[in-house]
């Protein structure tokens, strides 16, 4: 007897609306249908009525968590279109903002994942340390989110020399907490039991589904736009790309934590290497033609394509966010998982969902419907963790 469990149209755990139909047999998921489009805002069409400068602000609104990744890809596309090279200091500042954002985004995800498997301490600690990053972002840009720092040809605000020692001090505060999370994840038998071997995306599947970022790298694919198509200051600093082989939820978690360490390394080097200089070229016009810009967001490659007819507005603006390819890969990663695990696998690609709490269980044979809340879904997951804790005999 197969049942369908719909999760959505708003995911109970995370932030953006998506609709998953889990076809289950007993406890096992046999098929997954994914529906998106519940929050389609027509940004590509809207971009055609905005000036180039306004487009950067517009795309900043695509994602509330990694709000600077889209502007980064956007200015890369515009600079590619116009053959513009931004000043060195601006490139360093851009890199610092992007990496700070990666750290806070990964911490946010780690907190949610911790909460979901029943480790509320991880959730509270991760979000506590995320505050350090948000404080730095506020000091540097004036905002905790949606920084409005980027523009084609430069940045809008400089990092003050007086602030640099303070930022470095904050980075020092952050480092032990990242190490602590790494230790917690690699040593905890319960986290191992919940995440190892769960939701495996094999290397071949990752290639077929064209996944990116921390969904591809834990499956053994060494791609990262920052290395492959270096932009900003990424090839002027020394850092390593994190690649793991297992492709399960554990590898995805470990990959993100290790990436935070690299990010802090990048930020420190940028602050050290940055020399005084101009930060903006004051570009006023862009020529006719095509431009392609890429940036490595916390969730993977963001891709922007723009077509210009030489006017002040783009003739066509195409955006591809990383979740667009990553979410589709759940089709294969969820197969054969239990319901409690499947929800974790869906969250492991760190997509953007929305949190109105609603689940309906539809029984195919009896046509009956049972509505349970999102809290119940989390409870389902917590129960599994508690069961494992009991089995392992841990207090």
């Amino acid at each position: 007897m197969s049942e369908i469990i719909p999760i959505g149209p708003y995911h109970p755990l995370q932030e953006e609306p998506e609709f998953f139909k889990l076809h289950v047999e007993g406890e096992r998921v046999i098929k997954l249908d994914i529906e998106i489009g519940y929050n389609h805002r027509g940004i590509e069409k809207l971009a055609e009525s905005k000036s180039w400068d306004q487009v950067v602000f517009l795309v900043e609104r695509i994602c509330g968590i990694c709000s600077t990744s889209h502007p980064a890809a956007s200015i890369n596309a515009m600079e590619d279109l116009g053959g513009i090279e931004a000043p060195e200091r601006a490139q360093y500042i851009r890199t610092i903002i992007c990496e700070l954002e990666r750290v806070h985004s990964h911490l946010l995800w780690l907190g949610l994942a911790g909460h979901f498997i029943g480790y509320n301490t991880v959730w509270m600690w991760a979000w506590k340390y995320r505050e350090i990053v948000c404080d730095v972002l506020e000091k540097v840009t004036g905002n905790r989110q949606s920084y409005a720092m980027f523009k084609a040809g430069g940045v809008r605000r400089d990092i003050l020399e007086d602030d640099i020692p303070w930022i470095l001090k904050k980075m020092d505060e952050l480092k032990p907490s990242i190490d602590m999370f790494l230790g917690a994840v690699s040593d905890d038998p319960v986290i191992h039991a919940r995440t190892k071997g769960v939701g495996i995306l094999t290397k071949q599947q990752a290639i077929d589904y064209c996944v990116v970022g921390p969904t591809a790298r834990p499956s053994g694919i060494a791609i990262d736009v920052r290395k492959d198509d270096p932009y900003f200051a990424y090839d002027w600093v020394d850092w390593d790309i994190v690649v793991l082989e297992e492709g399960d939820v554990f590898a995805k978690t470990a990959c993100r934590i290790l990436e935070m360490k690299e990010s802090v390394k990048i930020i420190e080097q940028c602050l050290e290497k940055m020399k005084p200089g101009i930060i903006d070229l004051h570009i006023t016009e862009l020529p006719a033609g095509e431009g392609i810009g890429r940036a490595e967001a916390p969730r993977g490659e963001v891709y922007h394509y723009c077509l210009s007819d030489g006017s002040n507005f783009p003739a066509r603006y195409k955006v591809r966010a990383p979740s667009y390819t990553n979410i589709l890969s759940n089709e294969v990663a969820c197969e054969g998982q239990t319901v409690a695990d499947a929800a974790l696998v869906l969250a492991a690609v760190d997509p953007c969902y929305c949190c109105t709490e609603r689940i309906v269980i539809v029984d195919d044979d009896n046509n009956s419907e049972k509505v349970i809340s999102g809290n119940d879904l989390i409870k389902l997951s917590h129960n599994k963790t508690e069961k494992i804790i009991k089995e392992l005999g841990i207090k």
């Binding site: 489009g37 590619d80 064209c210 996944v211 791609i223 198509d229 394509y305 591809r320 390819t325």
Partner: protein, 145 residues
């Protein structure tokens, strides 16, 4: 494989099937091809040359047709390789790449509903981001409507 080798292989394999080879700069390459050759091209660069499909962009052009750009890149190389097909109105259709590249399933559905392109042999060409009751024949990104 280096970009020079990849470029040589594509050029020698397809020769005259390449209608236009345009390099905007070292890292951004646009290649115009006939829609009829699309599957052969995609198959070759995805399977043989191990390219990664990034996304496809559909553009309604003032030239009386719709352009689709299929963007690819190659493992650890900075080049973005965009295959461009031009579909003349009113019969805007092209073969679906979903049997070759699983990752094209969604974007073909999206281009179908936003620009009205018919992807032949797509497994399920239903709406992706527009609601199911969206009026038929109404394509939001078309300029002639």
């Amino acid at each position: 494989m280096t970009w020079t080798e990849i470029k040589k292989q594509i050029k020698s394999k397809f020769g005259k099937k390449i209608l236009k080879w345009f390099e905007h700069n070292d890292n951004r390459i646009y290649v115009d091809i006939n829609p009829a050759d699309l599957v052969e091209f995609a198959q070759y660069i995805f399977k043989e040359l191990k390219a990664r499909f990034i996304i496809a962009s559909g553009v309604d052009t003032p030239r009386g047709g719709i352009e689709i750009l299929y963007h690819f890149d190659f493992f650890q190389l900075p080049q973005v390789f965009s295959l461009r097909v031009f579909l003349k109105k009113p019969e805007i259709e092209v073969e679906s790449l979903s049997s070759v590249i699983a990752g094209t399933k969604w974007i073909e559905r999206e281009i179908h509903e936003l620009l009205g392109v018919n992807f032949k042999n797509h497994p399920d060409l239903k709406h992706l981001i527009l609601p199911e009751d969206w009026p038929e024949g109404n394509y939001p990104l078309r300029r002639d409507q």
